[in-house]
Symmetry: C2
């Protein structure tokens, strides 16, 4: 029976031109990662569910794609559990494996598992798809790529400075104008201390993270709802209203958080990172934003977020320092810092602004025509020489009318066609047609190679 | 709680050096695919189960990794079905999606779904992982990469000739000696006709495919078991014992199958392909093997299999022509022909024979030392110039003893170290140490770049 073919919602096919565009982005990111001394690793798409569960919060657990056990997956399963309707607990028994949700947790698992083979500080990058059972919507997919670079085993803020340079370098190569926002988790802890609510840091960060979306009044209402005193909310206000340039903001934070030692440490880390990147020079706009939290509770120091200036699309890169990510897998005290490029959002930005170089449109450089078996045999010999010269080339496989072959070459954006008929064979040449100008010339293969190069 | 980290059986992590080796293989294959005018596509890891089920036989259905539906996956499921223990039917209700099992069925689905955007003949390549719930064993993984190139929408045997050239080109670039075996499904049909068992072609091909493993006597016993007459088995013997060089084998097949028109068509196709590749020249050994069937019932013409000459590992590449793959998705009469490189077996062969180029061992080219914040700030400025020259470089992030930094550079196979101390800063230079020869020189950055390049 014929089925109407389709793919799962939230997933995508990528056509040749889409792949050329995506490869352009991935290759640019890879090239920069390598220039900065990062080495690639890969981990399996499937991880043990025990590796993934509990790492992304309760909501994250629900968004994990779980893989049904092979064979008799019902064996040993308690009927009462099935009847109870507790689908979460049941899923943990039906499924041992899940698809990775990000690259950070698999990386932490990798570091712990392979700690004896790794040279620390370990600079690794990883570019692989991740899967989330999110509700699909514009710009949000169920399968998408992350491009992560992390350094583990080093406390030095030199790493932060270099990661910010990587961000700057990648987006400047891609011609995307960006603003980089910085914050530091210790500043957030300092703020919680300063306003007299040291135990409410998470509540405070979750609420103020939304200030751009819902405004300060709604944030304040939420803070009261989360149990903060009115005094604390009042004390918070001047911090959220800090303005001016980077230096002014740092100075204001310095004086406001003077009473909190952790807060002062955060400010001093921010200052070191900002001074460091200023010294080497940065093309991107650099901002300090004390409301930036990125919702990820594993950050312990620097927090980084990148937005595109010319397209409204949310964060296109993020990152930060985490001091205890490998602790959950039994290896404490390994500090790490990393960034993650959101390749699919970057792809959307590049598409919206049409930032791809012209030559990406082309695939094969030259097509040889096919007017019969003798002509095809001749073409197959010549095309070998063209390929040996490193030029992508194809022979039209079927012997059909020249119009059909030319139409194909046109539609496939092939810039040159080598016409091979009886008279060309007799002269040991081909007629090279430039598909853009329409110009035709009788040439030897060596001349064709020269003409194309 | 600390967990002992591990990954699902049959899956693998790839370390930086392993990735360098794998990228070398993938990049070689990609480069050749592109030289031959093939364009890359990608499809999602997850396909609808309805796309995958029934395409790989009953055994294949069981080997599909199925993804548990999100949310309340028990809703609407008949309790009787759960109680029946029919885990296959139940799985089809618990799971709408599965992980792709190969690249061929997703490609067929892609062609049908996007037929209006595609230029035919469509030359596509695809390099992505596939997943099979096979019992893991040496050389067999649950996650492995396939590298496929197919042409759809063309009957011409020029495609076969070019695909064989691609195989030859890839393995000669990788320095792997190979033998390519050829057969043709029409020859197999001709054989079944010739021995008077035209309806038993599948039984015959399944049995004779094992001749290398179990010998001709066991094959004959299996044929009797599968319902062939003794006369048929006797008639088959001379065909299986055909020997000599390619020309002799073709001539013998020609005379043996003279009574079968489909058989004669198969022989003539084989001859055209063999003559074609001989005319352009092939480095690999080329064999004709009438017992070759590759178990895949969708092949309708040419069948291709590649073995490594110097390592015992089974087939490392395979392929063939299929005339109706897209028919199952509602698009009949689209002929296709393709090959699939088994990247993971090729990786095993390359590892066994140690066929990688020397320079793959290296990652970063130069490391700058770090003896404190002033030195690090100076190093960060210089390293920028080195990277701008396209040289992968890193700064040791932590200010520690020189021994520790040198030990790291050594272990990470970094060939050059730039030592940056007070006296170097005063002179505006660095001390470049060649980690292989031990030689040290005081140089400007420009001189360092020259020395490395």
């Amino acid at each position: 029976m014929a089925q109407k073919p389709s793919i799962p919602k939230g997933t995508r096919d990528f056509s040749p031109i889409e792949m050329a565009r995506r490869n352009y982005i991935f290759d640019t990111i890879k090239k920069v990662f390598r220039l900065y001394g990062f080495n690639q690793i890969e981990t399996p798409a499937m991880e043990n569910l025990s590796t993934l569960m509990g790492k992304y919060g309760e909501e994250g657990d629900k968004l994990l794609f779980k893989i049904l056990n092979s064979g008799d997956y019902l064996r040993g399963i308690d009927r009462d559990l099935i009847d109870s309707g507790d689908t979460n607990r049941l899923a943990a028994q039906l499924c041992e494996k899940g698809l990775r949700y990000d690259l950070t947790v698999p990386f932490a698992r990798y570091v712990v598992q392979h700690r004896n083979e790794i040279q620390f500080p370990f600079r690794r990058f990883q570019i692989q798809p991740v899967w989330r059972a999110d509700r699909p919507q514009k710009g949000r997919y169920r399968e998408f790529y992350q491009c992560d670079a992390d350094v583990v085993g080093s406390d030095s803020l030199v790493n932060e400075i270099e990661l910010l340079q990587i961000i700057d370098d990648v987006f400047s190569r891609l011609n995307i104008n960006i603003a980089i926002k910085l914050n530091n988790r210790k500043v957030l802890a300092g703020i919680a201390e300063f306003i007299g609510e040291p135990d409410k840091m998470i509540d405070i960060t979750v609420a103020i993270d939304k200030i751009d979306k819902i405004g300060i009044d709604n944030v304040n209402a939420e803070l009261i709802e989360r149990g903060l005193s009115q005094d604390a909310v009042n004390a918070l206000r001047p911090i959220l209203e800090i303005d001016g340039d980077l230096e002014e903001r740092l100075a204001k934070l310095d004086s406001l958080l003077a009473s909190s030692s952790v807060g002062m440490l955060g400010v001093s880390e921010l200052r070191e990172v900002i001074d460091g990147v200023k010294a080497v020079g940065l093309k991107a706009q650099l901002d300090l934003d004390v409301s930036l939290a990125r919702g990820l509770n594993y950050y312990t120091g620097t927090i980084i977020e990148v937005k595109a200036m010319d397209v409204q699309i949310g964060s296109i890169t993020g990152g930060g320092r985490y001091d205890n990510l490998t602790g959950i897998f039994g290896l404490p005290n390994v500090s790490g810092v990393g960034i993650s490029f959101g390749a699919d959002r970057i792809y959307d930005v590049m598409n919206t602004l049409n930032l791809y170089p012209e030559e990406l449109q082309q695939s094969t450089t030259i097509m040889f025509t096919n007017f019969g078996s003798a002509e095809a045999a001749y073409a197959l010999k010549l095309v070998r020489e063209v390929r040996n010269a490193g030029i992508p080339a194809e022979v039209f496989p079927d012997s059909t009318k020249i119009q059909k072959q030319m139409k194909y070459a046109n539609a496939a954006n092939i810039p040159f066609v080598a016409i091979v008929g009886e008279s060309e064979i007799a002269q040991g040449k081909v007629t090279l047609k430039n598909m853009v100008t329409g110009e035709q010339k009788l040439l030897t293969v060596a001349e064709v190679i020269d003409a194309i190069k």
